[in-house]
Amino acid sequence: MGAPPAARALDGLRVIEVTSERCALAGKLLADMGADVIVVEPPGGSPMRAYEPFAGDQPDPEGALWWWHYNTSKRSVVLDLDETEGADDFKRLVSTADAVIEAEPLGRLDSLGLDWNQLGASGDAARAALARNERLIWVSITHNGRDRPDPPATDLTVLAEGGPMWSCGYDDHSIPPVRGGGNQGLHMGSQYAVIALMAALMRREHAGRGQLIDVSMLAAANATCEFATYFWLNQQIEVQRQTGRHALPQISEPTQVQCADGRWLNTGVPPRRGPEFAALAEWVAELGLFEECPYTELLALGESYEQIDILHLDADPLSAEVFGAGRDTINFLAERLGAYELFVGLQTIGLACGIVYAPEEMSADEHFVARGFPVEIDHDGTPVTYPGAPYQFSATPWRATRAPRLGEHQDLLAD
C-alpha cells in the first residue's frame, strides 16, 4: 500500500494551451506541477509531432520525441479553430479555464474572434454567448510583443538578433558565432511567461480579476545576455566572444582543458588562497606525481598567500607567476588524468570546476541519480527515462506523466 499521492502546487488550475513550439515549455512547466493543461491541437496534430527524432527512428506522430519531451502531463484535444464547431468548443473550454497560453502568429486568433480581445475580461464581442470569465488570465507569447509585427522566426534567429549568439563561439572570429543548443531561444519566452502567469494568479487571489500578459521573445533573449548587456549599458563597451568562456572586452585566459581521456574540463578559477595551493600540492603528492610536477616550488610559495589579487597581476610579477603555477598544475594533471577523476579530485579539495558532460552523461552521474533526477515515465507499460524535476518541492513534488496521444482526451468536450 503506497502513501496517497502528495498534493500538487497547481492543483485545480486549468490552463488551455494552443499548441506551438513557442509556448510548449510554459505548458509543461505548469502541467508537471499539477495544473490541468489541455493542449489544443489542429486536425492532423501539432507541428511538433512531425519533428525529428522519432522513437525507433520511425516517423510517427505518436513517436516524436520532441512532442514527448515538451508535452508531458498535458491532455490533448483536437479542434479546428477555423471552423465554427471547433471555435465554439474552444470558447467553451476557455470559459472553464483559469488561463490561456498561446503563441499563435499575432492576429490569427483575433481574426477568428478567439483572442483575449474577445474572450478576456476586457473583451466584448463574443461574451454575450459565454459565462463571463472575469478571472481569465491570457498569456500571449510573440516575437516582439503584441504592438509590433510578428516576423517568421526560429530558435536560431531569436538567439541571433536577441543577443545571446554575439557572445558564443570561438577566439577565432573567422568562425561564425555559435547557437547554444537545446532550443533556449524558444525556452526564454516560456520561462518568463510562467513567472508572469504565477504573479497574475497571486494578484487574482486578492483582486478577483484576470489580466492580459504580453511576452516578447526578443526582449526575453535580450534579458538573457549577462555581461554583453551590462558592459554596454554601463560603459558602452562591447564584449568579444572567446572559446568556451565568458565573452569580455579583453581576451582572457582559457578556462577549458582537454583531459587524458579526450573529455574537457572547465577549470573555473585556479587556486588563489594559501590553503588551496596547499591542498593542490598535497593531492599531487598523493597521486605520486610530486617529483614529476615542475610547479611544486611555486605552489609552496602560494601557501603563504591569504588571497592573490588576480585583478592586479600586471603590477606583481611574482604573484602572477604563483597564480600561473596553479593553472599550470591543473593542466599538468589534465595530461595525466581523465576528466571525471580531475573534476572530482579538484572539487574534493575545494576547487570549483566542472566536467564538460554530454547530456546523457550528466543524467547517469551518481550524484544526480542519487538525488532522483532521472525519472521513469510510464508509456502504456513501457518505462521511458526522462530528465526529471528542475526543482525539488518538499510538500508538492514535481511529477510527470507521458505526453498525450492526438485527441486522447477529446471526451472532455462532452462535459
Partner: protein, 426 residues
C-alpha cells in the same frame, strides 16, 4: 500576511500596485543566479529585503565592486551587474556573527512570506537559520535555496557557478561546431536561467501556500534545472540509444531536430558581421529561392528536404557567396520580407541602442541610484495589463533601507538603530 495592496517604499506609484504587492521576501541571494530571481519579483511589486554583511561591506557578492562599473564610478556601490540584479530591492545590513543581528533576522523572518538564498549548500543552516529554524519562526514560511549541485547527494559539498553548471549539465557540450572544442555559452547563461527557475519556484510555492496555508522548502539545484533544457536530445539517448557524444556532433548551427536545411550562420559584408537563416520546410525553400534569385536556387534536387540534406555543404557554400555581397541587415530584411526566418547577429550596441523593438518595449530602464543619479538597468520582457512591472529605484546602497525595515517594519527606535550601527551589528 501584510496588506495585499502594500507597496514597498521605493515603488513608483502606490495607486498602481504590482502583481506581487503584499508579498515580503527575506532575501539572502547574490550574484545573478539568486539575485536575478528576486529582482524579477521586486519589479513585479514584492517587497524584497536584501540582507548584506556590514563587516565585509557586502563583498560576498563579488559583483558589488567589479566591472563593468557604472560610468566612471568605482567601489562597492559601483558594480553595474550588481546594480542591474538588485534594482527595485530594499537593502539592509546584518552582521550575523552577532546575536543581536540574529534576533533582528528572526524578527524579519517572522513577518516575511519567503526566505531566499543561493549560498553554498548548508550555509544558512550553519548560521542557525535552516528550514526547521525558519518554520519555528514562521510556520508557513516558503524557503527556496538555489545552489549548483543541490542540498544533498554525493556532491553536495561541491562548488559551482554559471559556467560550471553549464559544463556539468551538458549545455556547454551541446554548443559547438564539429572538430572544435566546446564553444559553450559565452556567459553565465545558467545564472540567468537558474534565476528564472528560482522565481517560478518561489511563486508556485507561494501560490500553494496562499490556497492551503502550507509552506515548504524548495531545493533548487541549478545543474538539474539545466539538465531539463536539452529538448529531444535527452530522449534520443534513452529511447534510441543515440548519445549526444558522437562523431560530427555537436553541430549546433545546423538543425537536425527538427531537420531544416539550409539552417545556419553566414558571413556578410564587413568585419565580424553575420546573418542567420532558417529554411523550415519546402515551402520556405521556394520563398528563399525566389528571394535570392540565383540559378542554383532553382535546382530541382533541392526542392525537397532530402535533396538539400544530401548536399548541405555545397548549398551552404553557395549561400555564403550570396551573403558575402550584402550587409547583414539587408540580407535578413530581404528574406524576412519573403517569409523566411532570418536575422542578423546583433552586437550589444545594435540591439540595445539601435533596435526600437527593445527600446520602445521599455527593456532599458533609467533608474535613479541614491549615490550616482540615473543609471541604466534591464527591464522585464513581459507586460501585465492590470499590474505591470516597474523599477522605481536602482540597487540599494549598503544598508540603505535599514531605517525603513528595522525601524518602520520591525519597530526599533532610531536610538536603538544608531547604537546597533555603532556596534557594527548593522
Amino acid at each position: 500576511m501584510i496588506d495585499p495592496d502594500h507597496c514597498p517604499p521605493n515603488w513608483p506609484n502606490p495607486d498602481e500596485p504590482g502583481a506581487l504587492a503584499g508579498i515580503r521576501i527575506c532575501d539572502f541571494t547574490g550574484q545573478l543566479a539568486g539575485a536575478g530571481a528576486t529582482k524579477i519579483l521586486a519589479a513585479l511589486g514584492a517587497e524584497v529585503i536584501r540582507i548584506e554583511d556590514p563587516a565585509n561591506e557586502g563583498r560576498w557578492d563579488i559583483l558589488r565592486g567589479t566591472q563593468p562599473f557604472i560610468g566612471e564610478h568605482r567601489g562597492i556601490e559601483a558594480g553595474g551587474s550588481f546594480n542591474n540584479h538588485n534594482a527595485a530591492k530594499l537593502g539592509i545590513t546584518l552582521n550575523l556573527r552577532d546575536d543581536r543581528a540574529k534576533e533582528l533576522l528572526a524578527e524579519l523572518i517572522a513577518v516575511s512570506d519567503a526566505v531566499t538564498e543561493n549560498f553554498a549548500a548548508g550555509v544558512l543552516e550553519r548560521l542557525g537559520f535552516g528550514y526547521e529554524a525558519q518554520r519555528a519562526l514562521k510556520p508557513d514560511i516558503v524557503y527556496v535555496s538555489n545552489c549548483g549541485f543541490g542540498a544533498d547527494g554525493p556532491y553536495a559539498g561541491f562548488r559551482s557557478w554559471g559556467p560550471i553548471a553549464q559544463a556539468v549539465s551538458g549545455l556547454t557540450f551541446q554548443s559547438g561546431l564539429p572538430d572544435l572544442p566546446p564553444a559553450g555559452w559565452g556567459y553565465s547563461f545558467m545564472d540567468h536561467t537558474g534565476a528564472y527557475y528560482m522565481a517560478m519556484a518561489i511563486l508556485m510555492a507561494l501560490y500553494h501556500r496562499r490556497r492551503t496555508g502550507e509552506g515548504q522548502w524548495v531545493d533548487l539545484a541549478c545543474i538539474e534545472a539545466a539538465g531539463t533544457l536539452h529538448g529531444a536530445a535527452s530522449l534520443d539517448f534513452t529511447v534510441n540509444g543515440r548519445p549526444a557524444r558522437r562523431d560530427g556532433m555537436p553541430d549546433s548551427n545546423r538543425s537536425r531536430s527538427p531537420a531544416m536545411v539550409p539552417h545556419g550562420v553566414w558571413a556578410c559584408r564587413g568585419e565580424d558581421e553575420w546573418v542567420t537563416i532558417a529554411v523550415r520546410d519546402d515551402d520556405d525553400w521556394q520563398r528563399f529561392a525566389a528571394a535570392v534569385d540565383r540559378p542554383w536556387a532553382t535546382d530541382e534536387r533541392w526542392h525537397r528536404l532530402a535533396g538539400r540534406l544530401a548536399e548541405e555543404d555545397r548549398l551552404e557554400r553557395l549561400i555564403g557567396e550570396w551573403t558575402a555581397q550584402r550587409g547583414k541587415a539587408e540580407a535578413a530584411e530581404l528574406l524576412v520580407a519573403a517569409g523566411v526566418p532570418a536575422a542578423p547577429v546583433l552586437r550589444p550596441s545594435e540591439r540595445i541602442d539601435g533596435d526600437p523593438r527593445t527600446s520602445d518595449w521599455g527593456m532599458w530602464v533609467t533608474a535613479p541610484h541614491s549615490s550616482f543619479g540615473d543609471t541604466r538597468v534591464e527591464g522585464l520582457p513581459m507586460r501585465l495589463s492590470e499590474n505591470d512591472w516597474a523599477i522605481g529605484r536602482a540597487a540599494p546602497c549598503l544598508g540603505e533601507d535599514n531605517h525603513y525595515v528595522l525601524g518602520e517594519v520591525l519597530g526599533h527606535s532610531a536610538d536603538e538603530l544608531a547604537e546597533l550601527a555603532a556596534a557594527g551589528v548593522i
